[in-house]
Symmetry: C2
Subunit: 327 residues, 2 copies
């Protein structure tokens, strides 16, 4: 028994060493961003070090569109809205002659969006409001199971960045709590973020419309109202973070000017910080866009990243694989 | 070594049995509420049982005032506001003649609140807004360290119910995530809930005022604005729960009509549910109040509890100890 015990101990030691030697970020090339991530995580988790951060304070926030999954040629939530307009059209004969719905139903996106923000809002409210929270959850869950990307034909949930999934797992393995902080709809994300990213609904922060509690035949429901509650973008990302988390992240990850204030808020805290921007530079494997793009514009935040030495991922150079389906 | 090893194993076994045999709710009498709690927890955690609930879905929500700590003779947050009015008075000479401040500074609470909701709002905004989130956190942290109850002379953080602390610990030991869902200010609670209840800031839901992101000399701050953002009470408690947690609790704990809709929302879900009301029945050890009380009125929710067989704690009969300092 004594021998067996020692043998077990030895096996355990070997296993532990093997596990710690395994690369937690295999889809990342051994370039500067990966080194910065690993150095940061080792720095804040080393007990006794002056940079040590207790587990409870290891908060990491991630933008979603363009940071965890793709956002071209159009935000995926807008694909959802288009599909919903088409599905709901039979119940809305008036849409045949009413903009922006008429153009949208004809597939003329450009004309549908000519009405600007007002047109966008009309499309969002007609497809995201008017039902209970439970009904909306089911609609999203059903849709995301089969929704495919218009260019690649892949499931949208496969248009997720493999290196970022590894990063989420690596941070969580080191005691971090990972949150999404997205301009996208909070209830559009929650039905699938746990399965796809391992991020539970209570760690998803996003834009929202108002809801109202009602008793319907004695049964309580929450009804989604066609009224904006909160737009979780730009200067309101730190507001959303404070509202939901109540402490400042020590690491934040974004890809556009919409994330600038979140990165500023994160890095202005005391102790070690990590700010990382995913720069879309790979026109072959993904899309290449930054300062001039209507979607995911990265201009001011790119300047600030250079000025403040934030970590910038060059997708073409720094990522071995892009999508989960490549692995 | 072999003998030592076996001895250690035996000790471990004994220790484990002793621990599991220990009563997790020693401050509760062996009456119906304790039995209902233990039965519920065993039911939802028994693997393979049809009532089993996965850990991720074990969400429990707790009201704060009157449920986790006392709320008489006046909500403790109002004691904070009074102390702040006194502290800020030198900077506001105009308060000497301006209501509700003039009466408040003279200690005439009744007259100060004669202006109703408007007076209350003025007091709240003048003491809770106008500073950064960091400055407010420090003000609350400093205050709560020494703030005492006007009748008992105890620290307010000692006016916490020992049976409820045991309940929080018991639920967490069984995989529950415990949240506060209070009408009180979210940023008034967060600085101390982790220390006092073991509930981290990201699991605190409460009322809030709006905040605004600003760069001050290049440093990002969140400024607290004198504008209501959300009142987390009554029919808006389920709204707050959905906004912050995104899933329905399986257990909820309250003490007043302000918790009625939270209890309705919780119990309307599928699978086993626990709804519990703390009924203040002990005029000797605490306070006795319900249907007629201005603070913590329990009327409609008490009727509904009887109708729907929710668990009602009779503090006098069901609790061996009330406050943490009694133990």
């Amino acid at each position: 028994m004594k021998k067996l015990f020692i043998k077990a101990l030895l096996l355990l030691l070997i296993f532990t060493n093997a596990a710690s030697a395994a690369d937690p970020l295999p889809s990342w090339n051994d370039t500067a961003p990966k080194k910065a991530i690993v150095a940061f995580v080792e720095q804040v988790t080393r007990e006794g070090s002056p940079d040590f951060v207790p587990v409870a304070e290891r908060v990491a926030t991630f933008d979603n569109d363009g940071t965890l999954w793709a956002e071209q040629p159009i935000y995926f939530q807008f694909l959802f809205a288009i599909d919903r307009v088409n599905a709901l059209a039979p119940q809305h004969p008036e849409w045949k002659t009413k903009e922006p719905f008429a153009s949208l139903l004809k597939g003329d996106m450009k004309r549908a969006l000519a009405g600007g923000e007002h047109a966008m809002l009309e499309i969002v409210m007609s497809t995201h409001a008017g039902m209970t929270t439970e009904a909306f959850e089911k609609i999203v869950t059903d849709w995301i199971t089969t929704a495919k990307h218009p260019d690649t034909g892949r499931l949208l949930t496969e248009m997720v960045y493999q290196p970022m999934l590894e990063l989420l797992t690596y941070l969580r393995a080191n005691g971090f709590k990972t949150f999404i902080v997205s301009g996208g709809g909070i209830e559009f994300m929650r039905p699938w973020t746990e399965k796809v990213y391992g991020i539970p609904p209570e760690q998803v922060i996003g834009s929202s419309i108002k809801t109202k509690f009602e008793l319907r035949d004695g049964q309580p429901v929450l009804v989604r109202l066609p009224e904006i509650n909160f737009i979780d973008d730009k200067a309101d990302k730190p507001v959303g973070i404070q509202m939901h988390i109540g402490r400042r992240p020590i690491a934040s990850f974004g890809n556009s000017d919409g994330d600038l204030q979140m990165l500023q808020w994160t890095t202005a805290g005391r102790s070690a910080r990590l700010a990382l921007i995913v720069h879309h530079t790979d026109a072959d494997r993904e899309w290449a866009y930054d300062r001039e793009s209507a979607i995911g514009r990265l201009d001011k935040a790119l300047d600030e990243a250079q000025k403040k030495s934030w970590t910038v991922v060059d997708m073409k150079l720094d990522w071995k694989f892009i999508y989960v389906f490549e692995k």
